[in-house]
């Protein structure tokens, strides 16, 4: 293996890692900006309830808060895992509470 090959095999630069991490967190924080403070806590509590019936993790819950002229929309979507039946309960694969 030549020196050039060795030099080419660089791991991803730390600036690239920083950029990607920032892209994700900034987008996430912007999407919840101006939303009520209780959203993260509500999300966790909802997760606890859902966990009683199906095995899902935190990433499976997506809460979206939108403010339109005059009214606010809280959208909650839960992606349920396939093939893992709920404990005693038949679960549909996607539930959206509007």
């Amino acid at each position: 293996m030549g020196i050039l090959d060795f030099l080419k095999r660089k791991p991803e630069s730390t600036a690239t890692v920083a950029r990607e991490r920032l892209r994700i967190i900034v987008a996430q924080e912007r999407s919840t900006r101006g939303a009520p403070d209780y959203l993260p806590m509500m999300r966790n509590e909802l997760l606890e309830v859902i966990k009683k019936y199906v095995h899902v993790d935190l990433d499976a819950i997506n809460i979206n808060f939108e403010r339109d002229s005059g009214h606010e929309i809280l959208e909650l979507s839960v992606t349920l895992p396939e093939g893992k039946p709920a404990i005693g309960n038949p679960a549909r694969n996607e539930a959206t509470i509007g």
Binding site: A15, A18, R21
Partner: protein, 271 residues
């Protein structure tokens, strides 16, 4: 004629707000404007040191707000520029010593006295002092370092500028946002160790108004109590001059964002 109010803010501490406030105010004064620069960091006065007037502080911002001194008594005239004044923060009072009405009264007073610009040097954080520094602003200079926590905090601040200011509340049109990238090291960017100008612009969705290279002259300037913009030989000073010109509406290309090609002598002696 009302004064244009410019807040220098960042969220994160230690990114160069006070250095920027001092150089921005001085640069505006060098351009012939009548300028006041106010330290909003009540309890942690520092702008006076960077401006080199720490031994001439008699009355401060809180004194004026509480009617214990007049504006005229409290404004400290700059040693080098007759049309530049500093209003120091209080060292002894706590951050609750400032009120929205009090700050408004001082800003109105400066407008009546014919000031063209008031530069508000915000404290770090997003609490009361930072809120009051940005509340009345027409323009904001958001100082950011090419570093993850600073970039994230500045996004927070951009959001606050769009919602928690008098302009936003009254629907008077947005606060003009200027992103200033400081402590930039082109050599580290070139080898992938530091976020680039483009990275920061893309993440925050806003163009930079200037890029200040990391420079030893900044420390030298603060050691001496002379704003770095006065040092026309330093790269940081020149970059600040460019930034002030852009804020005044001039179009100037970015400089010092690429790795300088060093000659032999420079390699040996530095520079």
């Amino acid at each position: 004629m009302t004064a244009e109010i410019i807040v220098v803010t960042s969220g994160k501490g230690g990114v160069g707000k006070t250095t920027t406030s001092a150089s921005l105010a001085t640069g505006l004064a060098m351009a012939g404007k009548k300028v006041a620069v106010i330290d909003f960091d009540v309890g942690l006065r520092n702008l006076d040191l960077i401006m080199g007037c720490e031994r001439r502080v008699v009355y401060d911002f809180v004194n004026v707000v509480h009617g214990e001194s007049t504006l005229k008594q409290s404004l400290i005239r700059d040693k080098r520029h007759d049309n530049l004044y500093v209003l120091a923060a209080s060292q002894t009072r706590d951050k609750d010593a400032l009120t929205q009405e009090g700050v408004e009264k001082v800003l109105d007073g400066l407008s009546e006295d014919g000031f063209d610009y008031v530069v508000c040097d915000s404290p770090a954080g997003i609490e009361k002092g930072a809120h009051l520094a940005m509340y009345f602003a027409d323009h904001a200079v958001v100082v950011v370092n090419p570093e993850v926590s600073s970039v994230r905090d500045s996004d927070r601040i951009l959001g606050l500028l769009a919602s928690k200011t008098r302009r936003a509340e009254r629907g008077d049109g947005p606060v003009t946002q200027h992103l200033l990238l400081t402590r930039y090291n082109p050599a580290r960017v070139a080898i992938g160790e530091m976020l680039s100008v483009k990275d920061v612009e893309e993440i925050l969705g806003i163009e930079v108004v200037g890029v200040i290279p990391e420079s030893e002259n900044v420390l030298t300037a603060s050691n001496n109590g002379i704003p770095v913009i006065v040092d026309a030989d330093s790269l940081a000073g020149q970059a600040y001059s460019d930034t002030v010109a852009r804020i005044l509406g001039e179009v100037r290309p970015l400089r010092f964002i690429d790795v300088p090609k060093k000659g032999f002598l420079q390699r040996v002696f530095g520079g």
